[in-house]
């Protein structure tokens, strides 16, 4: 039978040839598959609702306003056992964001250093880094988290705490530091910091324009640093030092006061950072190696030092190759932070699990997990994509 292909689009479609005409056959089959998929999902949803009703479980998100009645140790906002399930979930979410943000920063720094060192001319350095990368990449992350936690819990016990200057204490229950208590006048310091940031952005722009026009460089990094640190500091002293410190005080069992960073948070942070840094260092290495050798040779012909070559010529071009897989690693780190449950760091998954147990609303809690992780991932990749576009080489 004669097949009518898309190149024969001048041939009109006949009813009798609906299934033999490639164009209409494609459309019809795709509609049927779509219908099948929709029916499948409709069946799943109705089956779930029917089963829930049969067993007698309520559905809906009303349980989020019920009181939680359990406590959370590591928290960034106010929370008591009388607070609602919804607030507990927010505490968990903030904990997840905290460890993910810390992890991403540390992993990127470590990864870049590792990647550049791997390509070093020093044989020992590059072999050591290779060994570290291979080892860390191949041991499961869960084991690494437990390993770090075991190390941190073997720190001295509370009664033998290591005192840092008499104001901070390190023991196997965490690092206790003084907590700042902000008083009136602090708003000026914050405003000064804000003004300093804006001023440094303007300064950097101006310095770049001047360099393009006249070729004179300006130490903008140093200037920015002085501005951002110096201005708030000056205002701080002018406002009469509006910060009081809540010092940790030894009680019978523990320390009271100050801010505690639990060993669970530190262990999770170290494990996530080193694990992801191993992957990132390989990505960075491949990015650097993707820049053609001609660039290095041209840069040295111009008289740039090795350091300047790497910083000004190679890395900016390598970033085009590095950024997309780097985004994946950031998303992996965020999702891997859910392993916190293994050592008792109360992140979103851990608290959600407790709520699931106490309230029985399994589907709603799992739905919240999926929605939150999806939003975090989408936000991260949106930001990275924007950054990627910004630094992409614009062809003339």
């Amino acid at each position: 039978m004669a097949k009518v292909g898309p190149h024969n689009s001048r041939v009109p479609l006949e009813i009798g040839r609906l299934m033999t005409d490639e164009r209409s056959r494609a459309v019809i089959l795709q509609l049927l598959v779509l219908l099948g998929v929709l029916l499948f999902f409709a069946f799943i949803v109705s089956n779930t609702i029917a089963n829930l009703q049969r067993v007698g479980l309520a559905s809906g998100f009303g349980f989020l306003s019920d009181a939680a009645f359990f406590d959370i140790n590591q928290r960034l906002i106010e929370y008591t056992s009388q607070s609602s399930f919804g607030r507990a979930l927010i505490v968990g979410l903030l904990n997840t964001i905290l460890v993910s943000a810390l992890g991403i920063i540390a992993a990127t720094l470590l990864g870049f250093i590792g990647g550049v060192l791997r390509l070093s001319d020093n044989w020992i350095v590059s072999r050591l880094v290779t060994a570290w990368v291979e080892f860390t990449r191949n041991v499961p992350l869960l084991l690494q988290i437990i390993f770090w936690w075991a190390i941190l819990t073997s720190l001295p016990k509370v009664r033998d705490s290591i005192s840092i200057g008499g104001v901070a204490f390190l023991n196997n229950r965490g690092l206790r530091t003084p907590a700042p208590l902000f008083e009136t006048g602090m708003e000026w310091v914050v405003a000064a910091l804000f003004v300093a940031i804006v001023a440094s952005v303007v300064l950097v722009r101006w310095a770049r324009k001047r360099q393009e026009k006249t070729g004179k460089t300006f130490p903008s990094a140093l200037a920015t640093f002085c501005l951002i640190i110096g201005t708030p500091l000056i205002v701080y002293f002018l406002a009469g030092q509006p910060v009081n410190w809540d010092l940790p005080v030894r009680t019978r069992f523990n320390f009271r006061g100050g801010f505690n960073i639990t060993p669970e948070l530190i262990a999770l942070w170290f494990a996530l950072s080193t694990y992801t840094a191993a992957f990132i260092s390989e990505i960075v290495r491949s990015g650097i190696q993707s820049v053609s050798r001609g660039q290095t040779e041209a840069a040295s012909a111009l008289g740039l030092s090795k350091n300047q070559t790497m910083r000004l010529v190679i890395i900016p071009q390598a970033l085009r190759v590095i950024i997309p897989p780097l985004t994946s690693q950031f998303l992996n780190l965020t999702k891997n932070s859910s392993l916190a449950i293994a050592i008792g760091y109360q992140d979103l998954v851990s608290i959600g699990g407790t709520i699931l147990n106490q309230s029985g609303q399994a589907l709603e809690v799992v739905g919240i997990w999926m929605a939150v992780y999806l939003s975090l991932s989408l936000a991260t990749s949106a930001f990275m994509n924007w950054y990627n576009k910004r630094i992409a080489l614009v062809e003339r």
């Binding site: 598959v33 099948g36 069946f43 229950r173 019978r252 699931l356 106490q358």
Partner: protein, 348 residues
């Protein structure tokens, strides 16, 4: 449009339709009665602890044994005739309820407390109380603390997703003292954290505390504080909506309790099955009356249940009694006519 992509689309559509039918099949069986499911599968799926000395542990031969395990063995013997036809599913505090609700297990025998919200909100049916327990605190004697009310500022190891977590928060709130919760998933993790002094105190049911204390190298260096801060009636539970299965589970438990009250033991049950002077024993063991027909099980259901591990008292002595490392006194768990709370309705 190539032939290959067309074929792929056909296969995808066929797979979608096939899975619709497969799932409707699964949905259909999910509504069938649990007793028939168990008989058809030929084994009882029993949810137990991941490891709690005395209640659920592996013996020297690698087989599961313990107070909660013994109940499942008795139930399997009553329903299937063989106490070994049990598939044990180890569950943590977190996944025990979803496992029961989803049908992964037929019965949960995992030192679970009977509470209002679990009975009504989570959609389960409790079969009775097999162990009257209460929540306590375990701490080092070197702390120099005589009462739990002096634990202001202490770090407390607590299993997440349990009633103990809620009771702990309430206890410290009511007594206006503060604590740092150290969340852990299993009894094993709690033991490690407590031994490393990551936490000062471990709180769980008093039976769990006795179990944990028995595993330490120097048990005398640790003490259970005098405060029992809650009622924790532990017992087996099943899904709501299957009254028949719940009745069977309930009456197997009552048969074990009644057997101790009536003096029927693992050793003499065969002798007693031949007939005795006591009509209640005769009814239970099937020589009189028609209890087996009423419950819908084999005539020797109670005989098999008692033979599996002994009566309630024998099971208690074997796994929790004075000859075990736990050495828990009967206390509240003695028979009602011996000063305790263990009481079963009559087999009539």
């Amino acid at each position: 449009m190539g032939e290959l992509s067309m074929k792929i689309k056909m296969i995808t559509r066929a797979a979608a339709v096939a899975s619709v039918f497969a799932l409707s099949g699964i949905a259909a069986t999910a509504q069938a009665a649990t007793l028939e499911d168990v008989k058809a599968a030929g084994e009882l799926k029993c949810g137990i602890n991941t490891g709690l000395p005395g209640f659920a542990f592996t013996d020297d031969n690698g087989k599961w044994a313990g107070f909660d395990v013994a109940y499942c063995r008795a139930l399997a013997a009553a329903v299937l005739g063989d106490a070994d036809k049990v598939k044990y599913v180890n569950l943590t505090g977190k996944n025990r309820f979803p496992a029961l609700a989803s049908g992964e297990i037929d019965i949960l025998s995992r030192n679970t407390t009977w509470t209002f919200s679990r009975d009504l909100d989570l959609g389960f049916t409790f079969l009775g109380v097999s162990y009257y327990d209460g929540q306590g605190f375990l701490g080092r004697t070197s702390l120099g603390v005589k009462s739990a009310k002096q634990l202001d500022g202490a770090s407390v190891c607590i299993q997440t997703g349990t009633t103990t977590e809620l009771n702990l928060a309430d206890f410290f709130r009511v007594n206006k003292i503060k604590y740092e919760p150290v969340p852990i998933e299993t009894n094993e993790e709690a033991r490690k954290a407590y031994e490393a002094e990551r936490c000062d105190v471990y709180t769980t049911d008093a039976s769990g505390l006795a179990a944990t204390r028995s595993t330490f190298t120097k048990p005398s260096e640790h003490m259970v504080f005098p405060e029992i801060i809650s009622k924790e009636p532990l017992g087996p539970l099943v899904r709501q909506g299957d009254d028949r299965w719940a009745d069977i589970g309930r009456w197997v438990l009552f048969a074990l309790i009644n057997a101790e009250e009536l003096g029927v033991t693992q050793a003499n049950v065969d002798e007693m099955a031949k007939g005795t002077n006591n009509p209640e024993i005769n009814r239970m063991l099937g020589t009189e009356g028609s209890l087996a027909a009423m419950i819908g099980l084999d005539k020797s259901w109670a005989i098999n249940a008692i033979k599996a591990g002994g009566n309630y008292g024998e099971i208690f002595e074997k796994y929790l009694g004075k000859d075990t490392p736990l050495a828990i006194a009967r206390g509240l768990n003695a028979q009602w006519n011996n000063g305790g709370l263990i009481y079963a309705p009559p087999m009539r």
